[in-house]
Amino acid sequence: MYQITRAEKLTDQIYLFDVTATRVAKSCLPGQFVIVKLDETGERIPLTICDYNRETGAVTIVLQTVGASTMKMAKLKVGDSFMDVTGPLGVPSEFTNIPLEELKQKKYLFVAGGVGSAPVYPQVKWLHEHGIEADVVLGARNKDLIILEEQMRAVAGNLYVTTDDGSYVRKGLVTDVVRDLVEEQGKHYDVCVAIGPMIMMKFVTLLTKELHIPTIVSLNPIMVDGTGMCGACRVTVGDQVKFACVDGPEFDGHLVNFDEAMKRQQMYKTYEGRAILKLQEGDTHHGGCGNCGGDK
């Protein structure tokens, strides 16, 4: 069992937990993820590592409620446990492998959309701890969905916050900010790292291609085992099929086939909807989900 030592609700749909997973905390690096399973009947859910403490063995994970399993997890409190936490999985971010002197010559721009702030944070923090100040664009649909702003401000070079509806700081999409920084303010970036909803990453990569900025994205497709065994997470990158769990999750954003990846994310939408219905109705559930047979 993996005990929860901190549980916070960040927004209506986004929750943060510290969980004790000593082996993960000891060996993980920015860019990697864990697979979490709540209990015997739970799904294996891939979640980003948002932070880690090598001394205490704590790993910080952030989850957005999208299905029945994540809704159950959202109810967990300090002292509760996950039955299983596996990891770290995936390849660490590219920059953790670049010699520091070379890395210090590069200017990084991070673009974080919504819950994408969680995987961006440890990357910016790692760079900050190695003496590199990266710029960060933090965006969300509205003010309530902006997460980790203060934490990010503490480790970022410049932080630019934006909301789609203008309810906080400024009105505009993350792509508007990136275009403004490069074209109006004349900033130069060697690398862009964009993490957020698939549609956001698609449009950031279209823009950075136009601006000639190499761009890395982090994908979170459907996975089962997360160790390369099942191939559910396959994604087309250039002319090759890659497995996001072992070849990724980070890829060259200019080569990713986002349209295919977005379609693949929809694969279990119907099942998820039914499972949520069943969960929400609880004991009063008596059919209509298409699963339980109660409506027959």
Binding site: T86, L89, D225, V241, F243, V246
Partner: protein, 461 residues
């Protein structure tokens, strides 16, 4: 009784079992087992033992069964095998022990597999457990992977007094026995779990959720955690796809994914949260045991299922028994048929598969006649699900994170067949990670050989 014929084994009726996940074969009862055992002529130079990758003393245990001494029989098997209830069910006996049986020259061979299964099941029901070794030698060995190779290696080393820890990447121990082979062929709670508990009863520790190469490396296990030897039994690896158009459409799965959802995650059971595609018409591409398992799982989930295989029935790599069971249950075999393209609807879902008819030409390197396309024979199958069962390629994670561990041109770990030794001192390997996808029993044989190799290595130190 006709001594030339096996005592028939009871099975669930094909029509009934096609709608449930309960075990197909019901096994022998005591009198059936004793009757079958009495057919054994107890050869002095028993060929069956030579046919067994873990060299079980087959005539000796059958002799005990004949006399009704079932506990004694289980001890004889226990000397050589840690997983008899598994092997009695999934070994390809027809090409191993039973294939060599002298009785089989004129008539049917002894039903060795079913007898092994009977003895193991009897021992479990009567709570017979292996005794842990009296003395521990204090030497620590790490075993990577809790599948058949790892469990066998760990069990053998524990019996010799070693302090063994198995590291498993998934949340449940058992490897292919839990994620790959379906419930209806190998019950998980009833058969696999007790067998793993028996290995633990020998003193073996199992740490789940540890991905070697990520959570910790082999070099760290040796230098920081005090393990004096390591056995790698990490299994087969990454599923292969054909590389044809449409393969990333929604509704195309690897057999690994489909089976993992159903077996490990129990998606067939409504009480579990993991979903699995509910299909109307499924094509399983491939002809091995895994293809049969995937096809029979889809059938039980309510679909019409076609096996699409490019060679003819004679070349099907699956066990004859599995093909026979699949046919009985209503799986349709589209043989000498090869997929060319998966047809996709406007929302990205599978709607069919374009195939071509094949004929057999000259034998190829494998000795099997090479299938050749018949020009102009293309046709379309209407489908909503395609399951690719084409084998696997090795997972590079362990080799790429371990200094001095050599792999061959297929990226399999190089290991000595006799003792499992790799190119790195103190590190041994066996099973699918070395050979590529093979059988449970061959992996167990390799685990056994490596246990011997590790014992020799550590005895000299």
């Amino acid at each position: 009784m006709d001594v030339l014929k096996k005592v028939p084994v009871r099975e669930q009726d094909a029509k009934v079992r096609a709608t449930n996940f309960d075990e197909v074969c019901l096994g022998y009862n005591e009198s059936e087992a004793m009757e079958e055992a009495s057919r054994c002529i107890n050869c002095k130079n028993a060929k069956c033992v030579q046919g067994c990758p873990v060299s079980i003393n087959i005539p000796a245990f059958i002799e005990k069964v004949k006399d009704g001494q079932f506990e004694e029989a289980s001890k004889v098997i226990g000397e050589s095998s840690a997983l008899p209830a598994v092997c009695g069910r999934v070994c390809p006996q027809e090409t191993q022990c039973e294939g060599k049986c002298i009785r089989g020259i004129k008539g049917e061979p002894i039903s060795i597999g079913k007898l092994e299964r009977f003895v193991a099941d009897w021992a479990r029901t009567n709570n017979i457990k292996p005794a842990p070794p009296k003395e521990k030698n204090g030497k620590k060995v790490a075993v990577i992977g809790s599948g058949p190779a790892g469990l066998t290696c760990a069990g053998d080393l524990a019996k010799l007094g070693y302090d063994v820890t198995i590291f498993e990447a998934l949340h449940k121990a058992g490897g292919v026995l839990v994620y790959g082979i379906p419930e209806f062929r190998l019950p998980k709670d009833g058969v696999v779990l007790p067998e793993i508990e028996n290995v633990k009863a020998l003193g073996v520790k199992i740490e789940t959720n540890v991905v070697i190469g990520r959570s910790v490396t082999i070099d760290q296990l040796i230098h920081e955690e005090g393990f004096q030897a390591v056995f790698i039994g990490s299994g087969a690896g990454l599923p292969k796809f054909m590389g044809i158009p449409g393969e990333n459409a929604n509704g195309v799965f690897s057999a690994n994914e489909y089976l993992t959802r159903s077996n490990l995650m129990k998606a067939f059971d409504d009480n579990y949260d993991t979903p699995i595609a509910v299909s109307k018409k499924v094509a399983v591409v491939g002809g091995g045991n895994v293809a049969m398992d995937a096809a029979r799982t889809a059938l039980r989930l309510g679909a019409e299922v076609h096996i699409v295989y490019r060679r003819s029935e004679a070349e099907l790599p699956a066990r004859v028994e599995e093909v026979h069971h699949a046919k009985e249950e209503g799986i349709i075999f589209d043989l000498l048929t090869n997929p060319k393209e998966i047809l996709v609807d406007e929302n990205g879902w599978v709607k069919g598969m374009r195939c071509v008819r094949m004929e057999l030409g000259e034998p190829d390197a494998s000795g099997r006649r090479r299938p050749v396309e018949i020009p102009g024979s293309e046709f379309e199958l209407e489908l909503d699900t395609v399951i690719m069962s084409l084998g696997t390629s090795p997972n590079p994670l362990i080799a790429s994170t371990t200094d001095g561990l050599e792999v061959n041109k297929w990226k399999c770990i190089v290991a000595d067949e006799e003792n499992g030794a790799t190119t790195k001192e103190g590190v041994y390997a066996g099973g699918d990670a070395v050979t590529g996808a093979a059988t449970v029993i061959l992996a167990m044989g390799a685990g056994k050989a490596a246990a011997k190799g590790i014992h020799e290595y550590l005895s000299e130190r």
